[in-house]
């Protein structure tokens, strides 16, 4: 029984993190898949979302700004808005120029965000990061939440404490996972609608032939900025959810560009850019490979270490982690060359009312 719970909890955590990456991949799909905008600052936009959420919801602390005690959904909303504002600023400057410049600028803005988070120690606690970020569902067990309305209407503090003590320690995990999957589904539905709407058709037109779209009277720059901002908002949302999952965020390790930005790109390209289902599938697939390979490598090295007792496997373990990154990188190159459309290639919906 314990083993069964253990396995299901592992599956739930795979789904949770896979879902967070799926949100990121969907955000990137709006920018790259819909509008052809090359953003390599994903980690930066996610960091804005994560920090905004964290600073607005954590309990008062002597290390960083906090104690606003905003409701969690409102904080998520603020995270999206802030992320979108930064994207708007970048978009205004670079979107007229060719994609290379946008790539350079987005990687730059991600670095600037990191610098800001590292240096504004008064606000963000600098490189040490923010701890104890409330997580949806699990946050109900915190005293500052159950002593306030609306939870205090149903039960007093003692009653709530007893109630939570009676639950198994992992009770919130399935709820948290379900919440994330629900968010993925809602975003997916919205994006599908957007793709089938006139707006989506116009985005495709701009992506495929900018000059023709321009000649047809479409405001190319404005539409591109729109796609860029919406994508960044979704990334900000993902960042807010990620900060809940991690509970401890810091500017350097959590938002390591190599891991986050790159993994999301691999996910979207492997799944199929331009296809929302592909983006979600790619996210879960790549995350499962990524997470499972870590377990396999570590247990393999462990066996290796048992056989040769004089070896220090901790060194090998860190090195193997980097080697894994090399393999993932080469995998991306392979997919880019052999299957540029991904596992699920983009399929344009047939407009209703037209018979083929």
């Amino acid at each position: 029984m314990d083993m069964l719970i253990g396995y299901s909890l592992y599956a739930i955590s795979l789904l949770t993190v896979g879902g967070i990456y799926a949100i990121l991949a969907l955000g990137l799909n709006i920018q790259w898949g819909y509008a052809g905008l090359f953003n390599v600052g994903i980690a930066g936009f996610a960091a804005i979302g994560a920090y905004t959420f964290a600073l607005m919801t954590t309990a008062p602390s002597s290390y960083h700004f906090g104690g606003l005690d905003l409701p969690l959904p409102l904080a998520i909303f603020c995270a999206m808005i802030l992320s979108g504002l930064v994207a708007f600023f970048i978009g205004l400057i670079c979107i007229r120029l060719r994609s290379d410049y946008l790539a350079i600028s987005t990687i730059g803005i991600a670095e600037i965000i990191k610098l800001f988070l590292k240096n504004e120690t008064e606000l963000t606690n600098g490189p040490r990061g923010i701890n104890k970020i409330p997580r949806v569902w699990e946050h109900l067990t915190e005293e500052r939440f159950y002593t306030k309305s609306p939870m205090s209407w149903f039960n007093d503090a003692q009653g709530w404490e007893q109630f939570f003590d009676s639950l198994p320690i992992w009770w919130w995990q399935p709820f948290f996972c379900a919440t994330i999957l629900l968010i993925v589904y809602v975003i997916y539905k919205l994006l599908e609608t957007a793709q089938r709407s006139p707006w989506g058709r116009m985005m495709t037109a701009i992506r495929e032939n900018e000059n023709a779209a321009h000649a047809a009277g479409k405001d190319v720059t404005r539409r591109r900025i729109e796609a860029f901002v919406i994508g960044a908002m979704v990334m900000g949302l993902a960042g807010a959810v990620l900060s809940q999952h991690l509970r401890l965020i810091d500017p350097t390790n959590t938002f390591d560009p190599s891991k986050m930005t790159f993994l999301v790109w691999v996910m979207l390209i492997a799944g199929g850019s331009g296809n929302n289902r592909g983006a979600i599938f790619g996210a879960f697939l790549v995350w499962t490979i990524w997470s499972a390979s870590e377990i396999f490598i570590n247990s393999g090295l462990h066996i290796f270490g048992e056989m040769i007792s004089s070896m220090d496997i901790s060194l090998l373990k860190t090195r193997a982690g980097y080697l894994r990154m090399v393999v993932i990188g080469l995998l991306l190159q392979y997919i880019l060359q052999k299957y540029p459309d991904g596992i699920m290639p983009e399929s344009r919906p047939v407009p209703s009312g037209i018979k083929l």
Binding site: I93, C94, D100, V326
Partner: protein
């Protein structure tokens, strides 16, 4: 006057800025050449710089351990340059060349992937921790110190800074000879101006591309070794940290203008160091933590005001 302002300004801000500028300049040359000849922003450039530093370190350690000959970094850089050029050409052959006729963004993506592949490879082979490149404290050159002190303008420059500045000047002169006097250099400029016209006039574009990687690789390793000499240590993230200032320098000078890139590199290097000088009152102008943001700010301003750069470069 010298004691109150000049000494501190020249020795602790101006000279380090110049040295940093030289390093950026060398890196930006490669970026601007690949951008104009191959038409894409090569994100892996900083990592080749970094791996060049690691190759040099390995050559130094090997010659010291096996033959007992301690090599100067500049000599040890010779095999490193060969390896880095080979790496560039191999990466181009297998990862960039398949996208020559595809939209440029595909190859940018491939180079972004290569950036992480190369860095992770270095982390797996040499380990993620810092390595000491040249041990000890760099003492200022005695001769210059005494000479300048005798005219009451003491300048403290360690030997490594002389090597870096002199090396950059030599490479610049060689590059200017290559680009203006040799057939291959003229071909590079022709392809940069118009690949189609260059092709019909009988220039073998693939040869030019290889030559570009050679020049870019040489300059990148030089920049990497100079940076390692300056910092006296190696880090796997040092290439990435250089990337943004180098792009900024290339854009500032104008894409396709190697000498523009040099000017851009010097401007960015000086601006980064001088931005922390206490221009107004006691505190530094901007907090030292934000020093690396200066390059980005300059780049953004350039992109808004004059995207073709100071020297009227190419705009894609």
């Amino acid at each position: 006057m010298w004691e109150t302002f000049g000494f501190e300004f020249v020795n602790f801000y101006l000279i380090p800025g110049l040295v940093l500028g030289c390093i950026y300049a060398l890196g930006a040359i490669g970026i601007t050449l690949t951008f104009s000849i191959l038409r894409f922003a090569n994100f892996a450039h900083g990592e080749v710089m970094m791996i060049g530093g690691y190759f040099t370190w390995t050559a130094m350690v090997l010659s010291n351990d096996l033959f007992g000959i301690p090599l100067h970094p500049i000599i040890a850089a010779i095999p490193a340059v060969m390896l880095a050029i080979a790496l560039f050409i191999l990466v181009d052959r297998y990862f960039y060349k398949p996208f020559r006729s595809a939209p440029a963004i595909r190859v940018v993506m491939a180079s972004f992937g290569m950036m992480l592949v190369i860095r992770s490879f270095v982390q797996a082979v040499w380990g993620p921790n810092q390595l000491t490149f040249v041990p000890g404290i760099a003492k200022p050159n005695e001769l210059v110190k005494n000479l300048t002190a005798s005219v009451d303008m003491m300048i403290l420059v360690p030997n490594k800074h002389f090597w870096i500045i002199a090396g950059t000047i030599v490479i610049m002169l060689a590059l200017s000879w290559l680009l203006t006097k040799t057939k291959i250099g003229k071909g590079m400029r022709a392809v940069s101006d118009s690949p189609e016209l260059a092709k019909v006039s009988g220039i073998d574009v693939e040869v030019i591309v290889k030559a570009t990687w050679c020049v870019g690789g040489f300059c990148a390793v030089a920049a990497g070794v100079f940076l390692a000499m300056d910092l006296q240590m190696l880090e796997t993230t040092m290439g990435f940290r250089m990337l943004l200032p180098m792009f900024a320098a290339a854009i500032l000078g104008g894409i396709g203008r190697p000498f523009g890139a040099v000017v851009g590199g010097l401007v960015i290097g000086l601006a980064e160091e001088l931005s922390v000088y206490p221009w107004l009152g006691d505190g530094s102008l901007i907090s030292p933590g934000y020093k690396t943001g200066v390059a980005f700010t300059i780049m953004v301003i350039m992109l808004v005001v004059r995207p073709s750069g100071l020297f009227k470069g190419r705009l894609f």
